[in-house]
């Protein structure tokens, strides 16, 4: 499948590397040209040499999304460092480009819960961390 990932920070780049290693076609969009370094971590080859593609542009720019190949994406991951940015571009991917599988990272549990109800597949790292921390404390007791 063709996976598009917006935001090449710790999370986005790790997901991108994993998808590529699983044999999927991967396109990453980030506004920072240096962010490609995250994708090349732990490899002697450049991201492009490994078969990935990388586009520089901001997430809200339609032209950048199209250049990165959103038109033919089967899956779309919104993982920039802004919750609101992620929620807006995820809806754009879903409603305008009809991407089948859209996943959004949302740090704020309240917004994650609300947009989940609205039909977006949200992943909330904060909620996961809270649950894990609670479990760890309770187990230790």
């Amino acid at each position: 499948m063709f996976v598009m990932i917006v935001g090449s920070g710790r999370v986005g780049s790790a997901v991108a590397r994993r998808m590529l290693s699983e044999g999927h076609e991967v396109s990453v969009l980030d506004e920072d040209p240096e962010a490609i370094a995250h994708l090349e971590k732990g490899s002697d080859h450049s991201w492009e040499e490994q078969g990935g593609s990388f586009t520089v542009g901001t997430a809200l720019e339609i032209d950048a999304l199209i250049e990165a190949g959103i038109d033919r994406a089967d899956a779309f991951v919104a993982s920039t460092d802004g919750d609101n940015t992620n929620l807006v571009i995820a809806q754009v991917a879903q409603k305008r480009f009809r991407v089948e599988n859209v996943v959004v990272r949302v740090l704020d549990p309240a917004r994650a819960a609300w947009y989940e109800q609205q039909g977006l597949r949200t992943v909330c790292p904060t909620k996961i961390a809270i649950a894990e921390l609670e479990n760890a404390v309770l187990e230790a007791a």
Binding site: L60, I62, N84, V88, Q91, V92, A110, R111
Partner: protein, 225 residues
């Protein structure tokens, strides 16, 4: 009416003042501590500190009983989000969003956030209307009669330069009434020749400007205005 304004920049603050003056009840939400301090000094309890895209902040600002929510932060994605949750989660009847980058207007439309107001877009439209083309000057507008008189400069390389008035090909509904050359004007005949550097006065039906400009523009009038 109870109004929640999110973002106390120049736009938000002045809106808040005006709306308060008109007798509305209002809360303005601001996330920058320094800015909040300034605004709070004047608006007191009508100002609230916090990130207006956090739901609990909006709830504290009383969004559930708001008749109108205005999102005027400097971030378009924040304004979209705030208006979406205001409308869909809290049932606010009317929302108004500020669109900072006119290119983002399509996102507001796609996600049903309207009206979205873009100052850049408004000014651009005003410019198009008020200053249609470089080198073209409105001398007289008679909107009732649907007539106007314009002055247009004949630049070097203009397709009109060196042509007789009858050969310029101005559209039907317009007429060359005067040519200004070297500080004096004259009423041309059909075979008077227009030169580069002349200023030509035309009377025309409103709406013909673009067609006329095309006859004088050295670039052929094909560019977008």
């Amino acid at each position: 009416m109870y109004v929640v304004v999110v973002g106390a920049g120049k736009v938000g603050w002045n809106l808040a003042r005006e709306l308060l003056d008109k007798g509305n009840e209002l809360t303005v939400v601001e996330s920058d501590p320094a800015r909040y301090a300034v605004v709070e000094e004047e608006l007191e309890h009508a100002a609230q500190y916090g990130d207006g895209s956090e739901l609990w902040v909006l709830e504290r600002a009383g969004i559930e009983r708001a008749d109108l929510v205005i999102a005027v932060t400097g971030d378009d994605e924040d304004n979209i989000l705030i208006c979406q949750v205001a409308r869909d989660k809290y049932g606010v009847d009317r929302v108004i969003a500020r669109c900072n980058n006119p290119r983002n207007l399509q996102h507001f439309e796609l996600l049903g956030v309207k009206p979205a107001v873009s100052a850049t877009d408004l000014i651009l439209r005003l410019i198009e209307h008020e200053v249609p083309r470089v080198g073209l000057l409105h001398l007289l507008d008679l909107p009732q009669e649907r007539l106007e008189i314009i002055e247009i400069e004949v630049l070097p390389g203009s397709p009109a330069a060196g042509k007789m008035v009858k050969d310029i090909g101005v559209p039907e509904g317009s007429l060359v009434i005067s040519i200004l050359r070297d500080g004096t004007g004259f009423v041309p005949l059909a075979d008077s020749v227009v030169e580069a550097g002349d200023e030509v006065l035309l009377v025309l039906d409103t709406g013909l400007e673009d067609k006329i400009t095309a006859r004088f523009d050295p670039n052929g009038g094909s560019r977008d205005s």
